[in-house]
């Protein structure tokens, strides 16, 4: 491991710990500055523990002693980013706007196609993808709509 890699590792290791430290400080601020502290007694304890543990983890990260976790290299981030974008679009836009089942079918086939190694220009590939999506959504419909009778939100479609 080069010196540069080590520095990058330390920087990356600091990021999540800084986030938990900031969270701990915010919880402490919210818990210790209220007029009636009774409902915040337990959060006060948690905030103290979180700040102490985050400070210890930050100290170890700066020293380069945090050796757990591989971090997120750029190439990994680039590979997962399209998938995360599809997941976010499915949950935040497609399902509430188009309807649960329509949004789920689009989300399923998009995520599947994006990471399917088979050629995108093949008719056979698309036939397989559509058939698998339809089959899976049918099972989901039978289980949730008919068997469990879960009323899902409807958008433009089902």
């Amino acid at each position: 491991m080069s010196q540069q890699d080590q520095v990058a590792g330390r920087f990356q290791q600091c990021l999540p710990v800084l986030a938990t430290l900031a969270l701990g400080l915010w919880i402490a601020y919210e818990s210790f500055t209220v007029e009636d502290p009774q409902p915040y007694l337990f959060p006060q304890l948690i905030s103290v523990a979180m700040i102490g543990l985050s400070a210890a983890a930050l100290f170890r990260a700066i020293r380069g002693a945090n050796r757990t976790g591989v971090g997120i290299p750029l190439d990994l981030l680039l590979r997962i980013a399209p998938g995360i974008a599809v997941i976010l679009a499915y949950v935040l836009v497609l399902a509430p706007q188009l309807g649960f089942y329509t949004g789920s079918a689009i989300g399923f086939i998009t995520l599947y196609s994006l990471y399917d190694p088979n050629p995108h220009l093949s008719v056979r590939t698309w036939f397989t993808r559509i058939a698998i999506t339809a089959g899976f959504m049918l099972v989901i419909y039978l289980v949730f709509a008919l068997a469990l009778q879960v009323q899902t939100p409807r958008g433009l479609f089902l």
Binding site: L15, P16, T20, L23, I27, E30, D36, Q38, P39, Y40, L41, F42, P43, I46, S47, A49, M50, L53, S54, A57, R60, N66, R67, T68, G69, V70, G71, I72, R79, I80, G83, I84, I87, L88, Y90, V91, L92, A95, P96, F100, S104, G107, F108, L111, Y112, S113, L114, Y115, D116, P117, N118, I132, F136, M137, I140, F144, L148, V150, Q151, T152
Partner: protein
């Protein structure tokens, strides 16, 4: 019976699928139980838990990819047997050994649980507070590679449990988004923290065509497999005893049980040189151990509400959504449900054996599902599962937010188990802390109530010991790293 059969078959198939951990499989099943009676729901979860652990051996043997960490030792000899054309023999021996170890483990659960529960009946709020903290520190210390990060994850989980309206005065706490007004539901947290990170992990490889080198299963006589397994009494006894002992230690897990048992069976075997080359004794030792730990790992959960493993933590969530609070009063207030659950584990072992012996051929096809289909399917199932519990879209959004956060944290050595446990045990710890405070103010004060008395000191000692033990282990591993080249 249909529920038990469904749970067992589903558990075997889910357990056999690489990338689906038993913990995630049980988490995904919980929303289905929400629409059942508590007894039926818990029977389904119990059968699925038992079967997923055994099902993980199918991919370990046929693909050399353990379905769960508990099946690592099984892959060593099981896959070597399969490569020799003895895949069916390996699978049959595996399920028979799992049955032997599993039944012994459940018997320990049946006889030990009421005794411990009776002892724990006298616990007061201060003791329950320390037990909740002990649950978080044990999983935080033992299930994580870094003690500090494990405890930190536990603290974050405790805070997440505080979001929403305070249960005593109804005061609004930490609601910074409209989606958090109802708080964070346990099921949304369970699915998000366990399923979403695994979905993204399946996408990490990009568009790579993964061709599993699956081995064709040739027919083999079941009677011969029974005779062979019974002839390996020494390995079965070592495996079962090691599994029971490891299972009783909270946080130790099936991986340790399987590997320790495999190592001990090799040490005492006259065929020790053949271990790793397809020796059936290795499969017997590993599989009897990882199933023997299932029952005992539930003893601390059912008696003290301290889950012994991440899957037990998920089961705790399943119990709580049905309004059943495990602990000393479980066998007083919900004895019927508790015993139905325990008995379902025992019946589940028989069903696991029967279906395991006949379903292994089918499971060989299931394990070949490409990761993109698996990831897309789990995603849709997670969304429907999170929504169906309260018919609230906020649960879906919270589930996704927690899952994405957990994925990034997991890349820096944070584990989901302590976080989940914090979410589950947070309200228990808080309510007992507040009750204890009221009692303390009427008596000798906070210090006297929470920090004195033999039981309080014993529990505090366990909290400290769990942390100290893990810190010492971490330091020892770190010192060995430069010499062995083992990366943490």
């Amino acid at each position: 019976m249909a529920i038990l059969c469904g749970g067992t078959i589903g558990g075997l198939l889910l357990g056999a699928t690489p990338g689906l951990s038993p913990t995630m499989a049980v988490a995904l099943l919980i929303p289905f139980t929400f629409h059942m009676t508590p007894t039926h729901g818990l029977m389904l979860l119990g059968a699925a838990y038992t079967a997923t652990v055994a099902g993980g051996a199918i991919s370990a043997i046929l693909l050399k990819i353990p379905g769960a960490p508990a099946n690592i030792a099984t892959a060593l000899d099981g896959n070597a047997m399969a490569k020799k054309g003895e895949g069916a023999r390996a699978l049959q021996i595996c399920f028979i050994s799992s049955f032997i170890g599993g039944v012994l483990g459940i018997l320990v659960l049946i006889f030990l649980t009421p005794v411990l529960a009776k002892w724990a009946l006298g616990f007061g709020p201060s003791h329950m507070f320390w037990i909740a903290i002990l649950g978080v520190t044990i999983i935080g210390s033992l299930d994580s590679k870094s003690v500090i990060k494990g405890l930190l994850a536990g603290a974050v989980g405790l805070w997440i449990a505080m979001i929403g309206y305070d249960s005593i005065q109804g005061v609004e706490r930490f609601i910074f988004s409209e989606h958090l007004e109802g708080g964070v539901h346990i099921i949304a947290a369970l699915i998000g923290l366990f399923a979403i990170p695994q979905i993204i992990e399946m996408l990490e490889g990009g568009r790579i065509n993964r061709q599993y080198q699956i081995i064709k299963v040739q027919p083999h006589s079941i009677v011969a497999a029974f005779r062979e397994t019974i002839s390996k009494t020494r390995a079965a006894v070592i495996g079962s005893v090691v599994g029971v002992v490891v299972g009783l230690i909270p946080g130790a897990g099936g991986q340790i049980a399987g590997l320790v048992s495999y190592d001990q069976a090799r040490r005492f075997s006259p065929n020790r040189d053949k271990f790793g080359t397809g020796e059936s004794e290795g499969v017997v030792a590993a599989e009897s151990a990882n199933n023997a730990m299932v029952g005992p790992s539930l003893v601390p959960l059912l008696t003290l509400s301290v889950p012994g493993s991440p899957t037990a933590a998920v089961l705790l969530g399943g119990l709580l959504i049905h309004g059943i609070f495990p602990g000393p009063n479980l066998f007083v207030e919900h004895a019927d449900v508790a015993w139905a659950f325990i008995n379902s584990l025992l019946v589940g072992q028989v069903l696991m054996l029967v279906f395991g012996l006949y379903i292994a051929g089918l499971a060989a096809h299931v394990v070949r599902i490409p990761p993109p289909i698996l990831a897309s399917g789990i995603l849709v199932l997670s969304v429907f599962g999170a929504y169906s519990v309260q018919s609230s879209y906020s649960d879906v959004v919270v589930m996704l937010a927690l899952g994405l956060g957990m994925y990034f944290l997991s890349k820096y050595g944070f584990s989901p188990a302590p976080l989940v446990l914090g979410v589950i045990l947070g309200p228990i710890a808080e309510s007992n802390y507040v009750q204890g405070q009221i009692i303390a103010e009427a008596g000798d004060g906070m210090f006297a109530y929470f920090f004195t008395g033999a039981l309080n000191l014993f529990l505090i000692g366990l909290v400290v010991a769990s942390i100290v033990y893990s810190v010492v282990s971490e330091i020892r591993i770190r010192r060995l790293e430069p010499r062995t080249g083992v990366a943490s």
